[in-house]
């Protein structure tokens, strides 16, 4: 049984405005309206990400100090 966040209600326009503001974006109203229009599809996608990986499951991008090039 997969666990995800699909059960949560979609964010409303005011919540999207608040999240945008918290991200430090001060967008013109036209662009805010565009973001409010497109965000629901992205939000649904993100909420489908499973949240039940094993505690020790590594992300697919790990830090490899030997590969950091020094100036």
């Amino acid at each position: 049984m997969r666990t995800d966040l699909s059960h949560l209600p979609p964010s409303g326009p005011e919540e999207i405005r608040a999240m945008t503001s918290r991200a430090g974006l001060d967008l013109p109203e036209e662009l805010i309206q565009q973001l409010i229009a497109v965000w629901p599809a992205f939000e649904a996608m993100v909420r489908r990400i499973p949240r039940d990986c094993d505690r020790a499951a590594e992300p697919a991008h790990t830090y490899r100090p030997l590969r950091i090039v020094r100036d």
Binding site: T20, L25, M45, I49, A57, A60
Partner: protein, 462 residues
């Protein structure tokens, strides 16, 4: 002799036999571009002075018997997110309209050292993501099979230019399918190599964890020749793999008898273009006839792979473009802006969970590749899209059949396997294998192309 549709292998042979010269071919292809690209918009910029100087140098060296490599004297072009010293690199964006890099991308250095001939910089979706867009400084490229249709993206100009016979090969980039998609809908070959096989240094980033550079050509054999020149370790690309580069052309000579191929049919069984499943079935029968053993295999859904990849991508994309989105958001095209701004609302835990899920999905593919030498599926779910500015944005709504192998970081090659009856547009097959197993992918594709002629069909531009 008209060199427009000669392959890289054929051009090299004719150079060796002194039946064609690099300068003659370069001039001929520029004439063809001048005659037809006003309809296709595949090039943002042609570089005739650079090309003719490189062609003349190649001609002198080849005449003297000094061959520098497999692409010596071969014309090619670059997606315009690949940096070129002294030549503008725009990302097809107003934001980089006047950007002139000081240095070449690593792969450009390799192509120069190998004596290849740079014909110009190619159209792309804005920063390899936002497209097709009609509100950018340059128009979107069109599909040479029918200019009322698009060539896919984001390596749109590369797909269009190679299919149109403007260049025998081009460099594209592929984060979720941006080499393979254009290859599929333009009827050519396009390889996304293993992650880390070709350096990304000097290429505008899209998604650091999934960006790949690779070739688009008209045959699998040419992919092998092109890859040989650009593959290899780069200590200054943190994602580069320090693994030996095999002789890719040598792999083409081996039979595919006995190879075990896992067919991922459920990815295209529903919702695909109606001509695609029969074309795939015919291709599979040909592979069986060549001795391969083809059996079904089940992986996670395209929806899962697309969600995982796109969540990772938009978070990284937002980080890349945050400064410009905060200071000059109107300078982005609408489609790119609407695809990147949502990244501002992704939480850190969403991004990390998507990266952890990527490991799970990649492991699923690795397990399948313990049973099979390669995986087969469709190269695209449909044919080219109409060139309609009012088409809805399907980045999130429509699952992608190329994204699974982006998530896995596996080598994946698209080759043509038929044409749709109604539109007369190309259909495509996708072949993937384990990390660094490009030789197996190329071997299967080449064997298929020795038994079929889809890759020998070309659009009539008149």
């Amino acid at each position: 002799m008209d060199p427009a549709f000669l392959t890289i292998a054929e051009l090299s042979r004719l150079y060796d036999q002194r039946e064609l010269s690099p300068v003659e071919v370069t001039r001929n292809l520029f004439d063809r571009i001048a005659a037809h690209d006003s309809k296709l918009h595949s090039f943002i910029r042609v570089t005739p002075e650079v090309a003719l100087a490189e062609a003349q140098a190649a001609e002198r060296e080849l005449m003297a018997g000094r061959r520098r490599g497999l692409l010596h004297g071969i014309p090619y072009a670059l997606k315009d997110i690949v940096e070129t010293a002294g030549i503008p690199t725009t990302g097809h964006s107003k934001l980089c309209h006047d950007y002139v890099p000081a240095a070449d991308a690593h792969l450009v250095s390799r192509l120069k050292a190998g004596g290849a001939v740079l014909m110009g910089k190619l159209a792309t979706w804005e920063f390899a993501l936002g497209g097709p867009s009609w509100d950018l400084p340059w128009p979107p490229a069109r599909n040479p099979w029918n200019p009322d249709y698009l060539p896919g993206g984001s390596s749109s100009g590369a797909g269009s230019a190679v299919a149109a016979g403007f260049v025998p090969g081009a460099v594209g980039t592929d984060t979720g399918g941006s080499i393979r998609g254009p290859a599929a809908v333009c009827g050519i070959a396009g390889l996304k190599p293993t992650y880390g096989r070709v350096s990304r240094r000097g290429v505008f980033p899209n998604t650091f964890t999934m960006d790949h550079c690779g070739p688009l050509t008209r045959s699998a054999e040419d992919i092998a020749l092109f890859l040989q020149v650009i593959a290899g370790f780069d200590a200054e690309d943190p994602g580069s793999e320090d693994a030996p580069v095999p002789d890719y052309a040598a792999a083409l000579t081996r039979s595919i008898t006995g190879l075990r191929l896992g067919l991922i049919e459920h990815w295209y069984a529903d919702g695909a273009h109606p001509d695609l499943p029969p074309a795939m079935s015919a291709a599979i029968e040909i592979l069986r006839g060549l001795g391969a053993v083809v059996e079904p295999v089940q992986l996670s859904s395209l929806r899962d792979y697309t969600d995982c990849k796109t969540t990772i991508s938009i978070a990284e994309l937002y980080a890349i473009h945050e400064k410009d989105l905060k200071t000059r958001p109107q300078d982005f095209g609408r489609i790119l802006r609407n695809r990147v701004l949502p990244g501002a609302l992704i939480r850190a835990e969403d991004y990390v969970q998507a990266l952890r899920w990527r490991t799970v999905l990649a492991r699923e593919q690795a397990m399948a590749l313990k049973r099979f030498d390669a995986l087969l599926t469709a190269g695209a779910l449909g044919v080219a899209d109409p060139a309609d500015p009012n088409q809805p944005d399907r980045l999130v709504s429509s699952p992608s059949i190329t994204m699974p192998f982006s998530v896995g970081g596996l080598p994946a090659l698209n080759i043509p396997c038929g044409f749709s009856r109604a539109e007369g547009l190309p259909l495509s097959m996708q072949i993937a294998a384990a990390p660094m197993a490009e030789p197996i992918v190329l071997r299967i594709a080449h064997a298929y192309q020795q038994a079929t002629d889809w890759h020998r069909r070309h659009p009539d531009l008149h």
